[in-house]
Symmetry: C2
Subunit: 354 residues, 2 copies
């Protein structure tokens, strides 16, 4: 079978890291007899917006909706275009319209990466953050009244649906069940967010009954962020709402040294639409154009994409190559204290793939 | 002038740390010629609830509403009483009904406290988290529809009022202006929480115009939590909504080693109602009754209370005593790797006050 991949570099360093991601993907595909076909798209970027006045063509769903997966760089350039246009016109649109209800991000301390946490070594930190990716706090319901008066107020609803909450919990419990530790942690804040979060807790409790082999616990988000720093070894699978998952999946990678290497999948587990794989970092206007961005977030995202497609061996060969490259400590980018450029780092990883 | 302080130990380790807080307060008051009168209250606790079926007497506002300040231990015992009864029936009631719209918490790496962050030393981390304490994500507006069907959904509104947002921002900008670095950081998430958070940003921008000497910036909450770990030295005053402030004021203390020593003030800057001072830690049922809780969070909260009352010198004498006790590394509780009990630690701090 040939996999058709839609490639969307997007903005800023997205355009710099994607060629390295593709280089490594092609190397791994060749070594493992996987057939990948890449279609390149220039939309979902400031360049496209400048020409067309919108982030994506009207028929974007036809253009990329039938691909096996979407390989994405980064989008956004706040100085040129407001986030609500760029992000809500592309990334968040994908998540919603392609029903990518799982945002999946590994938190793993890699060999050779200095941890900002004292006394932590590779192996100590190795868990997944499973984030609800379509509803919750990222709603479009709300508004403003009495503008420019003392009575002015603004509201926005957090929305949790039974279907939306149960399906992300199911995914998280199944992931936990498949892992040696079989441990799930739920992020809540039911002591303060007094309506939606108790509902979340209630559904967690109900779902847990279906997975008796999974040990589970829950923490309020405030102390949970504290425990990411104090006890990152406690976690195996952490599940949270859209906002809580967003926070935890930036904080987790920070605890393991750099957001530059963290990958993510925006996954539609039902398979009726393609999933999007992208590095956790954004377009980084401050370093864009210098060729110094760390391509490992993009490369690792490519590995996640292969695993999602069922090509576990090819995917693992990339993760192993990343680990070896980092452990050697020679060809590393500036964010990791080295001075290799993006291309040199990408080539180093590609050379390690076997 | 004699200050009248309402003392509410509450639940669990609240009852163990408060006597030490009072011991140190009395010592400092005597040395600095400050006159404190303490009135003790047993409500806002599980014990009270067990006897009376409610957390507080009907006339609680008359009983403590005229005091100069409230000195609080901790409340909550989830195994015996649900959080929404215990917390919303006391702590959150105080915040709302006494209009304590500022929650103020220092994040400071103290001498002698091992930081979980690598290579950070005292002086590197020293900032304040200013949290909106009455509205935002902790609203009481929302509900559930279609229970127990596939259509079931739950909503909860985040509410930001012009008055509520502007007054917390004003407090934060004034605090920033009074500090040597004059630097304010706003926590936002306007790229995802698309209605309330852009409003927050808008008010920050408007308020900043009135404080031209304050340098300010903003970060989305996800990357902001990452920066607490990666660059805690970047911050001076950090202001956030009720939820974001809650998260940051647990994460910050965690980055400085232990939540056991962190203090907080629930402040009514207008002075029409008393403010509440309490340690950041909760009632900790798991270690309650053993006499091993760290009393420093409570003691430091007492110092914040004195400063709030205008007794800066007496307050500072307590903070200095805490620093010296921690630096000596002899009389420390279990959470800091020592084996002193609560009383021994409290006495050690009291002895250091001068
Ligand atoms: C106990 C809980 C409701 C409270 C809060 O979230 O405000 C606590 O975490 C705090 O920070 O004081
Ligand atoms: C860019 C932003 C809207 C997005 C989010 O909050 O979901 C990003 O932070 C992420 O985690 O993918």
């Amino acid at each position: 079978k040939q996999y058709r991949i839609a490639v969307i570099p997007g903005d800023g360093i997205g355009k710099e890291v994607m060629p390295e991601g593709l280089r490594v993907l092609e190397t791994a595909a060749k070594k493992h007899g996987v057939s990948l076909h890449f279609d390149h798209f220039d939309f979902s970027s400031w360049d496209y917006y400048e020409k067309h006045g919108q982030m994506m063509p009207d028929d974007w769903k036809d253009q990329i909706g039938k691909h096996d997966a979407i390989y994405f760089g980064a989008v956004g350039w706040p100085a040129k275009i407001p986030d609500h246009v760029s992000l809500w016109g592309s990334l968040i649109k994908f998540r919603r319209e392609f029903d990518q209800y799982v945002n999946l991000r590994p938190v793993r301390l890699m060999p050779g990466v200095p941890s900002p946490l004292a006394n932590r070594k590779p192996g100590d930190i190795d868990f997944w953050v499973v984030r609800e990716n379509t509803e919750g706090e990222y709603s479009s319901v709300g508004g403003r009244m009495f503008p420019d008066t003392d009575r002015e107020f603004v509201t926005q609803q957090t929305v949790m649906t039974r279907i939306g909450v149960d399906r992300i919990l199911k995914f998280a419990f199944e992931l936990a069940q498949s892992r040696p530790k079989k441990h799930l942690t739920s992020a809540t804040k039911s002591n303060g967010i007094s309506i939606t979060m108790p509902y979340w807790d209630e559904r967690v409790e109900a779902m847990a009954k279906k997975y008796p082999s999974v040990k589970w616990d829950k923490y309020h988000i405030d102390i949970l962020t504290a425990n990411f720093v104090l006890h990152p070894d406690w976690f195996d699978v952490v599940v949270g709402s859209n906002l809580f998952g967003d926070i935890l999946s930036d904080l987790g990678p920070a605890c393991t040294g750099t957001i530059g290497i963290a990958p993510s999948g925006n996954i539609n587990p039902d398979g009726n639409f393609p999933s999007v794989f992208e590095p956790v970092h954004g377009s980084a206007p401050d370093i864009a154009g210098q060729g110094i961005a760390n391509p490992i977030g993009a490369i690792w995202s490519g590995a996640m994409m292969l695993e999602h497609l069922g090509e576990k061996k090819a995917g693992k060969s990339i993760v192993d190559a990343i680990e070896r490259t980092l452990a050697e400590r020679t060809l590393r980018t500036k964010d990791l204290g080295g001075n290799a450029d993006t291309t040199a780092c990408g080539k180093a990883v590609a050379d390690m793939v076997d």
